[in-house]
Amino acid sequence: MHPFTYTRVSDTREALNAGRGGGRYIAGGTTLVDLMRETVEQPETLVDISGLPLREITVAEHGALRIGALVRMAEAAAHPKVRVLYPVISEALELSASAQLRNMATIGGNIMQRTRCTYFRDVTADCNKREPGSGCAALHGFNRSHAILGTSDHCVSTHPSDVAVAFAALEARVHLLGPDGERQVPFADFLLRPGSTPDREQALRRGELITAVEIPALPRPLKSGYLKVRDRQSYEFALTSAAVALHVRGGVIREARIAAGGVGTVPWKLPEVEQQLIGERPSESLWASAAAKAADGARALQHNRFKVELLKRTVERQLRIVGGTK
């Protein structure tokens, strides 16, 4: 681990000052410390923001849910309102990592997680994300866990977060605070596809701080849930996953919010699948025909071809679990 200076800030103004000066924010630290130890990350200054007052979960009158950036994964998952209003968020969180890590990691940090790509994490390997221009060792290397959607010739790594998949599905907004004030970014625009600049991962400006993630109000009743497919029963990143939220009224699907994980360079929203569902009545055949669209545009690599079919089946299964069959 490279040496670094450490500052602890107690209010956001102080944080922004430190951030503007090039300091690196640290919240739960579960990704950052790990990557610093691998020398993938070499910040010169760590700005400890864990003391900032960003730990509230609030529900607005119209039903929008706002989760403070420093709320721990465990707290968010266990929060009664989250559990009732958005099971998909609770489930995604509780299917992540381990109990210990969920006690440490924060919501803001979780969506800032960096890829688990083995070549990214190994500083002796080529990786455009870590070292722009060095090449992508994963493209023709061992890429079983890699992405089939949103990839480029420069990067094929997946975004590892589970809850970000739920956020993407629910069309969350990321609240940011920067030197120029507050702004909100739609989740779909917050995490960036690699394109030719895989080192740019978020639509963050220098020194900007995530303050909260807001889930917009959705019509009720809303059924939702998260399915995670992995080799091991627990404590593993997803091979594929699906976040599904459905609003069914009068036997007809009125709203659908669907995204997939483990398959995209960013959490992968599935608007075509959503479109297939709107206005239809839940049925086995509907789930199958809608899910058939889930992997449209997929580009498989040598070791992850199975994900194309697995993704469709994951989405289909989760549609059935959430939507039932009538």
Binding site: Q100, N103, T124
Partner: protein
């Protein structure tokens, strides 16, 4: 119950005196000059930022900070290298080697400790961040000679073999019971899955947690 320890209770990380007392160091600098003009085939081992030897001095200390924390009821004030993890602070400086280093990457749970009552991976926790924190390690669970009920349950159920993951399992189990994730064997299994036991004692670990949770 806290006792303020003098800072000198733990030697601050420093390189100055030790390195000057190492007689052979200069010899090695002299003999380890790199040979240039050859194909760089394998890629550079280190990352991109390299310290310039002209600028650095062996007497210079790495960035360090003073931190006061409570470990197993004892207040400690130390100056730590900012890079030092809680796990290394415990193991290398406080001689509390009960917390184990299994992966040093949050992937095994052997280092599990309670921080302010919640289970955390000490390997991913920078010690410098623990100002005023209350840390409980496996060494802090027993009440004198009286084992914590979960420690006793691990013995009764033979919930370990080599014993290396055991402190982390037990501390994690204490956290799991406190959280209330012990309503069924399935729930215990899931909520204890952050602690790998390579000897494969899982079934017995679940029994031990169940036995202890049931007594509460």
């Amino acid at each position: 119950m806290s006792t303020e320890l003098p800072e000198s209770a733990v030697p601050p990380p420093t390189g100055a005196d030790e390195s000057s007392s190492a007689p052979s160091r200069r010899t090695f600098i002299a003999t380890s000059t790199a040979v240039g003009g050859v194909v760089v085939a394998g890629g550079v081992f280190a990352g991109t930022v390299l310290a310039d030897p002209e600028e650095a001095s062996a007497a210079e200390k790495p960035p360090s900070s003073r931190v006061s924390l409570t470990v197993n009821g004892t207040r400690r004030t130390v100056t730590v290298d900012n890079r030092t993890s809680l796990l290394d602070l415990l193991r290398e400086h406080f001689e509390l080697t009960g917390s184990k280093k299994g992966c040093n990457a949050g992937a095994c749970g052997a280092c599990t400790v309670l921080i302010d009552g919640q289970r955390h991976n000490a390997c991913l926790t920078l010690a410098v961040r623990l100002e005023d924190a209350e840390v409980t390690t496996v060494e802090g669970l027993a009440d004198g000679d009286q084992l914590h009920p979960l420690q006793q349950a691990f013995i009764d159920q033979d919930a370990f073999q080599c014993g290396y993951c055991t402190p982390g399992q037990i501390v994690s189990g204490v956290g799991c019971i406190k959280e209330g994730h012990t309503n069924s064997p399935e729930e215990i299994r899931e909520w204890m899955s952050g602690n790998i036991c390579r000897c494969g004692c899982y079934v017995k670990i679940v029994r031990a947690v169940e036995q202890t949770a049931g007594r509460k």
